[in-house]
């Protein structure tokens, strides 16, 4: 069923009784050409592009919970491609371009809102680092602007210009960046993949990976054994656990990242604003809630909940940046479990097992990467060849000495 204003009107006139499920609930088949473990944004996007772009249609996505129950359903919805390192920038820009055509491609409104992401700087040194980043973006053909204080005051008048601990001197703006409705991304990809014949199997937990003669033959699941030609892991947050089933040792720690939303408010914050005096980012959803987050809690965890000390710190930073947030009430806090990699960058690669493929380590960057991650992973699975924009994101980069360390923090995951 194609979605359009017309379909809405036609269905409304028949009492909205004729809408069909957005994706099927198939019984698992005994064998698939490709099984993707993880029914989050990346797994679903991978399935969609495999089927649509690479002609691999006998695909299953296995999800242990409900579809989109991982980080695609719990993040701050930011979409951007303002990276500095040559290993990252082309990849995230590829993702940004896919975002820009995603709704038409999927026939699903994911409410991409290119309202601009501005990262504030508070010192000359920070400005220089952002200039370096902005120029790296331009090298890749991505437009960026340096907004100086006076211009910024006109653009975003409510920032703490006069009483801040660290003066707000300006910001680096990417106008094309913005937000997208996170759940809709999962649902849109699910519907798209389903329409191309992919079986999305929810509530099907992978409990083991069966190997014969050094190759994967299928997975044990809570719904029985399912055979496959190729197995693709896209279970960020739990990558180590899934990897363990195939004796993969991964450069990852699982960490909890909290995000928050306020009560619904009339539109007041038009951009995505990133504080440079700490690590805080905020935007307003189309529904009116201010959505914000900051740094991870810092300890390795598989619990989808955070601690109060971190939450309080987040609020301190928020009020420091925007004093007027003080009387706004925070409605809800939640925690996502992320793969923090050893250099803060993701991994899309083959593994030592020929038909086992790995997609993990998304750190803070998973949501914005969804389309490119899916596309590049599908490319790798279908062609056994790394997509050009993902070449720096290989697993062996640590052994070879080519970490993609955007923060320059070294191999301590909780510092990225």
């Amino acid at each position: 069923m194609r979605y359009s204003a017309f379909s809405i009107v036609r269905n409304a006139l028949s009492g909205n009784l004729n809408w069909r499920p957005q994706w099927r609930q198939p019984q698992p088949k005994s064998h698939y050409d490709v099984i993707i473990v993880g029914g989050g944004g990346h797994g679903l996007a991978t399935a969609y592009y495999l089927a649509k772009e690479f002609g691999v249609k006998n695909v299953a996505v296995l999800e242990k919970g409900y579809l989109g129950s991982g980080n695609v359903g719990r993040n701050t919805t930011i979409v951007r491609s303002n990276y500095m390192l040559p290993g990252n920038e082309p990849f995230y820009e590829f993702s940004m371009k896919l975002w820009e055509g995603l709704e038409q491609d999927l026939n699903y409104n994911v409410m991409l809102s290119q309202r601009g992401v501005i990262m504030l700087y508070h010192s000359d040194g920070q400005r220089d680092a952002y200039v370096r980043r902005g120029n790296a973006m331009w090298m890749e053909g991505v437009s960026a602007e340096l907004i100086e204080r006076e211009q910024l005051k006109k653009m975003i008048p409510f920032l703490n210009y006069d009483h801040a601990r660290y003066p707000i001197l300006g910001g680096l703006l990417q106008r094309r960046a913005g937000t997208a409705r996170h759940d809709a991304v999962a649902w849109g990809y699910a519907r798209g993949a389903d329409q191309h014949g992919v079986d999305i199997i929810e509530h099907c937990e992978v409990t083991g990976i069966r190997r014969e003669n050094g190759v994967v033959t299928g997975v044990e699941t809570s719904r029985g054994f399912i055979g496959c030609g190729k197995l693709a892991l896209a279970a960020a947050g739990n990558s180590s656990r899934v990897g363990e089933m195939a004796d993969l040792k991964l450069p990852l720690e699982s960490h909890v990242l909290q995000a928050f939303v306020t009560e619904g408010l009339k539109p007041c914050i038009d951009h995505v604003i990133v504080y440079g005096g700490g690590h805080f980012y905020i935007s307003q959803s189309d529904k009116g809630g201010l959505v914000f987050g900051a740094e991870i809690d810092g300890y390795s965890s598989y619990a989808q909940r955070g601690n109060l000390a971190t939450a309080e710190h987040v609020m301190e930073e928020g009020v420091s940046m925007i004093p007027g947030l003080s009387r706004v009430r925070v409605l809800r806090a939640w925690g996502g479990v992320m793969d923090m990699s050893m250099d803060g960058s993701p991994i899309i690669d083959r593994t030592s097992i020929d038909n086992l493929y790995l997609n993990c380590g998304w750190c803070y960057g998973g949501f914005k990467a969804t389309p490119a991650s899916g596309y590049c992973f599908a490319h790798l699975i279908a062609r056994n060849d790394t997509h050009p924009v993902a070449r720096a994101l290989r697993l062996d980069r640590f052994a070879r000495g080519y970490a993609v360390d955007e923060a320059g923090a070294g191999p301590q995951p909780n510092l990225h």
Binding site: L13, V110, D128, R132, R305, L325, R327, V328, L331
Partner: protein, 987 residues
């Protein structure tokens, strides 16, 4: 008194009349009112508009679950949007405004959405607004956004203050109703340190609206008596107006106390709100139970309220919710409410009971319709009648208030915030708290105990058990006597069939039963999917009223038990908490602590301009009369250091004493260059790597004795280096005998640099500091004339003859004054970090602009410091990896402008391109790390990282700053601009 205020009764003070306004209209209430009860008393039932369809909405509840009665309190910078009128304590001078309506509450243009509702079903926006693409940003999204939200945040600076406090106790009791009070009393009498937190401004909870008597007197009097005794106990802390919003690991609770939200003129001495972090050995959850609304056609008409709320308004506030009240119930509670109202003299016309065989007793003269359903309601902005259906017959019954009672749900949010899932109880027909261990137990109605005597017994019993566990003894005390009471019963009724108009599940977000049906049809039948697709339960009330019905309806449609559907996840915050309260005092200039150098006042009196450097303030430059720009000052300072002498505050550098017989061995493993044989009395530049081979920090190491070293770090990394040393000593090599002590704060340290530095400094010292007696890289303890202990180092970060002098911090200012005095004849000047930066740039010395965490010693031109001979040091092994040694790595180079025009500059952050090459990530040759004007050379110079840079001296390269539309051509050169390489670190 107004028409809706009962002539007597209630816990309001009829002698204290409070004036307030609603939408500008002056109104009056009584002390003890909430805004909601005062509005009801003034016949202001209509208080808001719903989110999507802008339907007129009235007050529904009498507590924190309120979905409709959201108002903006206050004005300007003191606005509090989305405040629940049902919990807002009335005060004189309160101003409230309704929300989400235009132009007015009575006539709201947005209500047209209601007519379009067939097209605005759940998730409709995912299916449209996609073509043409450009219109989403330009038209569709702005329209959707304009409709977003309810209240308006002004985003002005909040004039009020906030704070936090820690609290520790043996027992935290959450909720001051019958069970909570009894528990606190039992534990308090037994001597436990008890905290009782209650969100209301008056302790008592349901006792305040109770119709039953305790020990023969009104229940509220019992509450007052217990509260008074608790107040008299030193070991009990009563926190009223305090909502416990979260339960965290280790039995730590977050709570917010509204210290001054109920006063018109807050005292400057007190915070507006205070967040408590309460570490409790044990906690009892006494949060009561929530009455369930019924989902029937027209159930959102103003005047349709929770039955218990109508009772509360009558009993506690002396307010009648209507002239003629009807009750719609699926259980005995509706009858109880009716009896209470009748006892207060209110007119109850009808009880519609969904059950066929109920035996509950209705008050005299009240008609009971058994097996009845309400299928529609009448009226516009206030209810005028209900359409009751029974056995196929419909009847219109006039009434102006309807109380609904669909049974009870224990309030168990806190118990489920740490991963425990609610457990469906077939007995309670509700989700109950899971067993979460001994730290938190549930009592009273929250535990499914619905009689008053049961609640008192449950509270006393569990508190006594906890007292015993913690080694206290709770004396047996007789429980209060309650008059005859009936155990309430009800039938679960998730949805009333036959609705003739929309039957709302989530009032605020306008989710009605059909939306859930649509969600299920489209495959969103999982409770989380249904919530996300329809937005049911996502409003500011977080579904406190709606969630259970949504679960029940989904269960019904899916043909399974509610247990199988389950609930969505309970997460903090129980009720919304302000940013300000959670941030506390850390805001504005107090967002982080500030560190001041011992030479801060000295710099200030010498006219310094300060700049932030982490937590520190550092002096940036020292402008003198006639200098119009910072560049003029900095140029003068640089030239003066090169020609004469300058003094610079370097106290902010990290300073660490390293002691122990293994200190030398330890430092030798820590730095990549050799430290083992550093002679006593000597200093050495040191480079520390991370274990992955990249530079971590640089600094100096001075050996003051065989087993005593003095290490300096950069300002930014002082803390990190200290932690790193502690890690290495404790976790890696605990057998090395080495100890550290940070003395960053003990010493004021100043650099005295320039050709005349020795002449100036010698005047303060008896000790000979000539080139022979105190050569380059000397380091030792000394004393100033006059007896001040000092340390003197012959080290330089400027390339000039330079000393660093450290004196006890308190003497810093006096010593710096003396140096200035001694230097006057030599034209000494104070210089700041900007001049320091130019001086080091001219010499090719590096800072964190270069050491950005991705640089190897070799990249930085310091490869010779890497000691391949040493058997082991941090970072050695992984330094050998291919990627760290590849020939095409970016290496540090200098850049000089080809065109020496003074006006042309290079800027840090620019990238490098081969001449004639198109900009692209592939063609990117490197980047400029530091740049500045060298007054010595009379031109702009820069340090940059360039691919294979050291092979490319002499090459012309484009310095490309597209971000600022700036492009110049530079020549690649040796990074040491002034003097040659071998004089880099020497004086």
């Amino acid at each position: 008194m107004s028409a809706y205020r009962l002539s007597s009764g209630g816990l309001v003070d009829r002698s204290k009349v409070l004036s307030f306004t609603f939408d500008g209209r002056p109104l009056r209430g009584l002390a003890g009112d909430t805004l909601a009860s005062a509005l009801l008393a003034n016949d202001q039932l209509l208080v808001g508009r719903s989110f999507k369809y802008h339907r007129p909405r009235g007050i529904v509840s009498a507590g924190p679950s309120e979905p409709n009665a959201l108002v903006t309190l206050g004005s300007g910078a003191r606005s509090d949007p989305n405040t629940k009128a049902t919990v807002a304590e009335l005060y004189s001078g309160l101003t409230a405004k309704s929300q989400n309506r235009w132009p007015s509450l009575g006539f709201d243009v947005g209500a047209v959405n209601g007519l379009l509702s067939p097209f605005l079903g759940a998730g409709f926006y995912y299916k449209t607004f996609m073509w043409p693409r450009q219109l989403w940003e330009k038209l569709y999204e702005p329209v959707i956004r304009r409709a977003a939200g309810l209240g308006r945040a002004v985003l002005e600076r909040d004039p009020e203050s906030y704070e936090k406090s820690w609290a520790f106790c043996d027992l935290l009791v959450v909720g001051g109703g019958p069970a909570g009070l009894m528990a606190a009393l039992t534990a308090g009498r037994a001597g436990l340190r008890v905290i009782l937190a209650d969100e209301d401004f008056r302790l008592g909870g349901s006792l305040l609206s109770e119709t039953e008597t305790i020990d023969g007197s009104p229940a509220s009097a019992f509450a007052d008596r217990v509260a008074a005794e608790l107040r008299s106990l030193d070991n009990v802390t009563l926190l009223s107006r305090t909502t416990v919003f979260g339960w965290y690991d280790d039995n730590v609770f977050g709570a917010v106390e509204r210290v001054q939200k109920h006063v018109a003129e807050p005292s400057a001495k007190l915070p507006t709100e205070r967040v408590w972090r309460i570490a409790a050995k044990r906690a009892l959850l006494a949060t009561g139970a929530e009455e369930r609304p019924l989902v029937f056609g027209g159930n959102d008409r103003p005047g349709v309220m929770m039955g218990g709320a109508i009772g509360t308004y009558a009993e506690r506030y002396g307010v009648s919710a209507g002239k003629s009240v009807a009750i719609f119930t699926s259980g005995s509670s509706g009858y109880r409410t009716a009896r209470g109202l009748a006892a207060r003299g209110m007119s109850v016309s009808t009880i519609v009971d969904s059950r066929p065989d109920a035996v509950d007793a209705a008050p005299d003269g009240v008609r009971v319709v058994r097996s009845g359903s309400i299928i529609d309601t009448k009226g516009s902005k206030r209810l005028s009648g209900i359409v009751v259906e029974r056995s196929g017959y419909e009847e219109l019954i006039a009434c102006d208030a309807l109380g609904m009672s669909g049974g009870w749900s224990p309030v168990i949010h806190l118990a489920c915030q740490r991963g425990g899932r609610p457990v469906w109880s077939e007995d309670l027909k509700a989700f109950a708290a899971p067993d979460v261990g001994g730290g938190l137990r549930v009592i009273g109605a929250a535990n499914g105990v619905y009689t008053l005597s049961g609640c008192l017994r449950d509270g006393a019993g569990k508190a006594a058990a906890i007292a015993e566990e913690l080694g206290f003894h709770a004396a047996e005390a007789p429980l209060p006597v309650i008059d005859a009471e009936v155990e309430p019963s009800f039938a679960a009724l998730w949805y009333v069939p036959g609705a003739k108009s929309k039957a709302f599940v989530d009032f605020q977000n306008d989710v009605h039963a059909k939306d859930l049906g649509l969600a299920l049809r489209e495959g969103f039948g999982h409770v989380e999917h249904a919530k996300r697709y329809t937005t049911s339960g996502m409003a500011t009330d977080q579904g406190k009223l709606s969630n259970i019905n949504a679960v029940g309806i989904l269960a019904g449609m899916r043909g399974v038990s509610p247990a199988e559907v389950g609930t969505t996840t309970f997460r903090p915050f129980y009720t919304p908490v302000s940013f300000g309260a959670l941030a506390g005092t850390s805001r504005d200039t107090h967002a982080t602590p500030t560190r001041k150098s011992p030479l801060h006042e000295w710099a200030k009196k010498n006219g310094a301009t300060f700049v932030d450097s982490g937590l520190w303030f550092r002096s940036a430059w020292f402008p003198r009369g006639g200098e119009k720009t910072w560049r003029e000052s900095v140029d003068r300072e640089v030239l003066n250091v090169r020609a004469n002498v300058g003094i610079c505050d370097v106290s902010t550098l990290g300073k660490i004493e390293v002691f122990g017989v293994d200190a030398a061995e330890f430092l030798n493993r820590l730095y990549c260059n050799p430290m083992l044989k550093l002679p006593v009395g000597k200093a050495r530049y040191g480079l520390m790597l991370r274990e992955d081979g990249f530079v971590f920090d640089d600094g100096t190491v001075s050996r003051l004795a065989d087993d005593h070293f003095f290490v300096t770090t950069t300002t930014a990394m002082a803390g990190a280096v200290m932690s790193h040393m502690e890690y290495c000593a404790q976790a890696l090599w605990p057998d090395l005998k080495v100890r550290f002590c940070s003395v960053s704060d003990q010493w004021a340290q100043m650099a005295i640099a320039g050709p005349k530095a020795r002449d100036v400094l010698q005047q303060l010292l008896d000790e000979d500091i000539s080139e022979t007696a105190f050569p380059f890289l000397s380091a030792r303890a000394t004393a100033l004339r006059g007896g001040i202990n000092a340390r003197l180092f012959r080290i330089s970060f400027s390339g000039e003859l330079a000393f660093e002098l450290a004196v006890p911090a308190g003497y810093g200012e006096a010593v710096a004054d003396q140096i200035m005095e001694a230097g006057r004849a030599h034209d000494i000047c104070a210089y700041g970090v900007e001049a320091l930066n130019v001086l080091r740039l001219e010499k090719g010395l590096l800072t964190h602009a270069e050491f950005d965490g991705r640089v190897t010693p070799d990249d930085a031109g310091l490869g010779r410091m890497f000691s391949a001979q040493k058997p082991d040091f941090i970072g050695k092994h992984l330094s050998a990896r291919y990627g760290l040694t590849a020939a095409d790595r970016m290496q540090l180079v200098g850049l000089k402008l080809v065109d020496k025009d003074k006006e042309k500059d290079m800027r840090a952050g620019a990238h490098l391109l081969k001449e004639g090459m198109k900009p692209s990530t592939l063609n990117d040759q490197g980047w400029v790390s530091s740049a500045g004007y060298s007054p010595v050379l009379g031109q702009h110079i820069a340090l940059a990282f360039l691919k294979s840079g050291r092979e490319r001296y002499g090459e012309k390269i484009v310095v490309w700053d597209r971000l600022r539309d700036h492009e110049v051509t530079a020549e690649v050169c040796d990074p040491v601009f002034v003097g040659s390489e071998n004089t880099k670190l020497k004086a």
